[in-house]
């Protein structure tokens, strides 16, 4: 039997996962996108352009890695006895059991950060160059340039990308958790999609799994409709 406390706990874990993961992806993604775009604007030398291309190619890498593979790669890195992360940090931590939620967040943020990065990069690059030149003549610093030119111009893109990424993280997190922690220890990383799946395929309660599935679809529809309707009015 799936009790309501199990369901609410699972929803809580999923929301927590979504918020922290998307926040990390956004902060890092915005920072890198801004740095790359700035470099593109200012350094027009061949070396600068080449370097920029190389960097962008590097950030494609996590996309090309299947989520299942990302999970096993991070599981290896975080392995308590022979994983390099503990050796590098000089700590003795069984990450996937002592910090299970953090572990899956790191793996997911690693995989999805480039998505936000590329969209924001495209948005920043589409800002007319004159605006940057104008504020530069006024003697603005890098931060002021970001604060008064870049940020206001891409604010609507930021809102859309965060909203979509959040819905995506909330509804689609499965592979990484399944492979890294299996939802455990206990139910600490029992995200909602995994709860539905395990109810059906580990406990063979298909009826209850169907109820949870309907609930999940209802949540998706509400989020989705709000997003689409808001998008239409803009």
């Amino acid at each position: 039997m799936v009790g309501s406390d199990i369901v609410s706990h699972s929803l809580y874990v999923t929301v927590l996962f979504t918020v922290v993961s998307v926040a990390i992806e956004f902060i890092v993604g915005l920072f890198i996108a801004n740095a790359l775009a700035k470099q593109m604007r200012e350094k027009l030398s061949k070396v600068g352009k080449g370097l920029n291309r190389v960097l962008r190619s590097i950030f494609i890498l996590p996309f090309a890695v299947p989520a299942v593979v990302a999970a096993v790669a991070w599981k290896m890195l975080l392995q308590p006895e022979f994983g390099p992360v503990n050796a590098l940090l000089g700590v003795d931590m069984a990450w996937t059991t002592q910090q299970p939620l953090l572990s899956i967040i790191v793996a997911d943020a690693w995989k999805m950060m480039p998505f936000i990065l590329f969209i924001l990069f495209a948005a920043i690059m589409s800002i007319p160059a004159e605006r940057f030149e104008a504020i530069k003549i006024d003697g603005a610093s890098g931060w002021q340039e970001f604060r008064y030119v870049t940020f206001p111009a891409i604010l609507s893109v930021i809102a859309v990308v965060i909203a979509f990424r959040a819905v995506d993280a909330f509804t689609k997190i499965f592979d990484i958790v399944y492979m890294m922690t299996g939802g455990g220890p206990g139910m600490q990383t029992q995200v909602f999609p995994l709860l539905i799946w395990k109810t059906a395929f580990s406990h063979f309660h298909f009826g209850e799994a169907a109820v949870l599935a309907v609930a999940a679809i209802a949540i998706s529809l509400i989020f989705g409709l709000v997003l689409i309707l808001r998008g239409r009015t803009k």
Binding site: V28, F31, I32, A35, R56, S57, I58, F59, I60, L61, F63, A64, V65, P66, A67, V68, V69, V72, A73, M76, L77, E81, F82, G83, P84, A87, W110, F115, I119, A122, G139, S141, G142, V160, V161, F164, T171, K172, F174, D175, Y178, M179, F192, P193, I196, W197, A200, F206, A210, L212, A213, A216, I217, S220, L221, F223, G224, L225, L227, I228
Partner: protein
């Protein structure tokens, strides 16, 4: 004073950039390094960086112990199947939406957009019962159908955006010349839509290649099992086969990596257009 602040911000961003690049590369590099280390070296604490001895043992194990020949064939069949069905059905649907608006077509489009936001794990439950009734469990057909359902909305969305922006005069000319809509679509519209189709083919293929959910739900034996499920079977309740698992990770990533680098332009376009 102002000069020094600017240079500090500049150096901080360079350091952060380098750090993020290292973190981005590290998991994959470590996986690749581990995949050629001997079993004894993988388990050594503290870990060694570069492999002391080079072994291809784990890669050989994939094919001799973990059915990777069969699983590779399966993954290719699934990916090609999903790609072909998605592109054929998706482009026709998108063309219909773009050229012939009918009562409720706007509403239908919103539903298709919404379908992208549905939890795939929720979709698996009814599909599983359906596949069981049809006797399609543990076949690649069931996996292909499952992934295609999740993938179609994306395909329709990209293709519709393309058709909306494409000029209609050639089609009108074909119509005047008495060409049927169906022939016009295949002979004239599709050849013009090749850039969009390239994006869609690339994304459909990658989506199917990396899929894990439908494989793990519908497949129970190597006869229908994709590679992603093969990897997950390398960790059992008793043992994790680290060496083969790292080798399998590299093996599974290589095709998508090559595609992503070669077709970078389409890749980023699909990414930014899909949303």
């Amino acid at each position: 004073m102002k000069f020094s602040i600017t240079s500090i911000t500049k150096w901080v961003s360079i350091v952060v950039l380098i750090l993020v690049v290292i973190v981005t590369l590290f998991p994959v590099v470590w996986m690749a390094l581990s995949s050629v280390k001997s079993k004894e070296e993988i388990f050594r604490a503290p870990p060694t960086w570069a492999p002391e001895t080079f072994t291809s043992r784990h890669y050989e194990d994939l094919f001799t112990r973990f059915h990777f020949v069969r699983l590779t064939v399966n993954s290719i069949i699934i990916a090609v199947g999903v790609t072909v069905i998605s592109v054929v059905i998706g482009s026709m649907a998108a063309y219909g939406f773009s050229r012939y608006s009918f009562r409720g077509s706007g509403m239908l489009l919103i539903f298709i957009l919404l379908a992208r936001m549905i939890t795939p794990a929720a979709l698996v439950i009814p599909l599983y019962t359906l596949m069981r009734t049809l006797g399609l469990l543990d076949t690649m057909i069931s996996i292909i159908i499952g992934i295609t359902i999740m993938n179609l909305p994306f395909v329709i969305w990209i293709m519709k955006a393309f058709f909306d922006s494409a000029p209609k005069d050639v089609e009108e000319a074909a119509e005047v010349d008495g060409m049927s809509p169906f022939r016009t679509f295949w002979k004239i519209v599709i050849p013009m839509a090749m850039p969009a189709i390239a994006t869609v083919v690339l994304f459909s293929f990658v989506t199917a290649w990396v899929d894990f959910l439908f494989g793990i739900s519908f497949s129970t034996t190597p006869q229908s099992m994709p590679l992603t499920v093969g990897i997950s079977n390398m960790q059992t309740g008793y043992e994790i086969y680290w060496g083969p698992m790292m080798a399998a990770g590299v093996y599974l990533t290589l095709p998508t990596l090559v595609l992503a680098f070669l077709l970078q332009k389409y890749f980023i376009k699909g990414l930014t257009m899909g949303y």
